[in-house]
């Protein structure tokens, strides 16, 4: 046989064998699983504000869901609050998403007052899902909420009730409170909610 024919034969056989390799290495189906991304959706529900008798706070004080906020937020307006005034607030955390969530704590920010009122609103009692904590020392509401609460919520409407007893620092002076329009000191409360198994937090 001519040498060129022999060379061609070798190369043809080599190509045949490459085909066997190709068939072997491409036989596995590439699975592209449809991953349904879960929805993380924890919301506030049922905020309530109860003013005990003789509370030194106007009845128009309000605690409600802030509809204008981009993220779930509660708005707390304490109107004509005097030092020592008390209010009981409560709200529910509801997990409406498909992922288990953990609420680490809350961000607490002041709408008016440039931070001066924050230190004057104290938290006397905090109850999360029936577990109550009484603060013996002066603890601001901000600090109480910023604590690592680690509230776990399962998906599909699992909920937890949070209750707090608030008090304006009895040692504060009237002039210490910076009031906004209509005599209200205003705060917003946002939650810090994460996917339960988020390792980055």
């Amino acid at each position: 046989m001519k040498k060129s024919r022999f060379l061609a034969l070798i190369l043809v056989v080599a190509v045949m064998m490459m085909g066997a390799g190709y068939a072997y290495w491409t036989q596995d189906l590439t699975i592209e699983n449809t991953i349904t991304t879960g929805r993380l959706e924890v919301e506030f529900e049922g905020p309530e504000l109860v003013l005990p008798n003789n509370t030194y706070m106007h009845e128009s004080s309000d605690f409600d869901i802030d509809d204008d906020a981009d993220i779930p937020a509660l708005k707390l307006d304490l109107v004509d609050a005097y030092p020592g005034a008390q209010a009981d607030i409560s709200f529910k955390l509801v997990n409406k998403g498909t992922l288990a969530a953990i609420v680490k704590g809350f961000d607490f920010s002041e709408v008016v007052g440039e931070g001066t009122n924050e230190g004057l609103v104290l938290c006397k009692k905090l109850s999360v899902d029936g577990n109550e904590k009484v603060f013996s020392e002066k603890t601001t509401l901000k600090d109480a909420l910023l604590n690592e609460l680690n509230i776990r919520l399962e998906p599909d409407n699992d909920h937890v009730e949070v209750k707090m007893t608030l008090q304006i620092d009895p040692d504060a002076k009237n002039n210490d409170l910076k009031q906004g329009q209509e005599g209200a000191i205003e705060f917003t409360i946002n939650m810090k909610a994460y996917q339960y198994n988020d390792d980055t937090i």
Binding site: S4, A8, A20, L29
Partner: protein
């Protein structure tokens, strides 16, 4: 008395070794960290072309040794060098209609094109002058050992060293050989033969035409590596056989009795059909054959029948499977062909399949997962699988795993 100047040019092995040494040196420079000492753009656009132009000048300045074919056949060889390049480009483009096309990654601006022409052209011209010098100095007649050695030198120095370093597993090596090495080798083998017959111009025409398409076309065929192997190897090899025959015929060196042996067309057809049969058998194509060993799917499929299975290749193919389809799936090391009787979806909408052999009394115990499915049976060829079954290994698979 004939003075030395008028004697035919003597072949010189020293010139060859010198040229080989310089080529290897330039290859090492191109693939060494030393390149990083200068600005990469200056290196690619200035230093590298200058080095190769220098080598081209040296090779060109060496005394010329005449190529095999006389002047009167040079036009034929040059013409066919161009034609072979065009045939290769057309076949690649046709394959692109099956495998797909992609946008060229190379610059299409006038400046970019000019730079690429300088960059690629300098290496190409120098390479062909060196090839021609090596071939004409090392052999007078067809010497395939010399041809192969020169081809290997040109092939290796045209493949970046980092490609060799990246080879880790057997599959990487085979893919590398199929996609890069073998086609490059085949092209260079043809170029070497063209240089042997017709000098550097012939090989330059062939390679330059292919490179021009590769670097200048705005779209390029995006071929699977096995397709690149098929076209990249067979096209140059058949072209080599064709030019060999054409030259021998044109130069009347072909003896009368040899003409009956030529049959290049017959060779091509035999090669392509043989490759097609082997590839079909091993499962390269979307439909592959499989021999059935048991009667679990009687009466539709009997033992000894060959089924044609249409591969399931992606999730779309998986989702198109329906109840009553007969599928082939792999359980451990066994291939089983049974009918889907139910499609089960879990809470994440992932499908799995409940199957049963038509002739089995019980449903298959385990559900079939998508990754186990090989394909869907589209045709049954009766009885032709018996020879294959009889030749099977004596190692028995427990029959209980298949029939119940």
């Amino acid at each position: 008395m004939i003075t030395k100047e008028y004697l035919p040019t003597q072949r010189s092995k020293h010139r060859c070794f010198f040229l080989i040494g310089v080529m290897i040196f330039l290859y090492i420079i191109d693939n060494s960290p030393a390149k990083a000492l200068v600005n990469i753009r200056i290196y690619n656009n200035l230093i590298k072309p200058l080095l190769w132009i220098g080598l081209a000048y040296v090779a060109w300045s060496f005394p010329v040794v005449r190529s095999k074919a006389g002047l009167k056949h040079k036009n034929l060889i040059n013409l066919w060098a161009f034609n072979f390049a065009v045939i290769f480009i057309i076949l690649s483009a046709m394959a692109g209609f099956i495998d797909g096309f992609g946008k060229s990654p190379y610059s299409q601006t006038p400046k970019g094109i000019a730079m690429n022409i300088i960059f690629v052209g300098s290496v190409l011209v120098a390479g062909e002058l060196v090839r021609n010098s090596l071939i004409s100095n090392l052999t007078k007649e067809e010497n395939y050992i010399v041809f192969i050695l020169v081809t290997l030198l040109m092939t290796v120095t045209n493949i970046s060293f980092s490609r060799f370093l990246g080879l880790k597993e057997v599959s990487d090596i085979v893919k590398f050989i199929a996609e890069f090495f073998a086609p490059e080798f085949a092209h260079h083998l043809l170029a070497t033969y063209l240089a042997f017959l017709g000098g550097p111009i012939a090989s330059m025409i062939y390679l330059a035409a292919i490179q021009a398409f590769h670097w200048l076309s705005p779209i390029l065929p995006n071929l699977k590596w096995i397709t690149k192997a098929l076209i990249g190897v067979l096209c140059p090899i058949f072209s080599l056989m064709a030019i060999q025959g054409m030259y021998l015929k044109a130069s009347k060196q072909l003896k009368r009795h040899e003409k009956d042996d030529e049959g290049l067309l017959g060779w091509m057809i035999t090669s392509i059909v043989s490759i097609a049969i082997i590839w079909f058998s091993v499962g390269v194509f979307p439909i592959y054959p499989s021999v059935i060993a048991t009667g679990s799917m009687e009466p539709m499929i009997k033992a000894g029948d060959v089924i044609l299975v249409e591969k399931v290749r992606n999730m779309e193919d998986i989702h198109s499977l329906q109840v009553e389809d007969v599928i082939q799936f792999k359980r451990d090391t066994i291939l089983i062909s049974h009918r889907i009787i139910e499609i089960v979806e879990d809470e994440n909408q992932q499908k799995s399949y409940r199957t049963k052999g038509d002739n089995n009394s019980a449903i298959d115990t385990d559900l079939v997962e998508p990754q186990q499915i090989k394909g869907k049976i589209v045709y049954v060829v009766p009885k032709i699988g018996w020879p294959s079954l009889l030749m099977r290994s004596k190692e028995q698979v427990p029959i209980e795993e298949i029939i119940y």
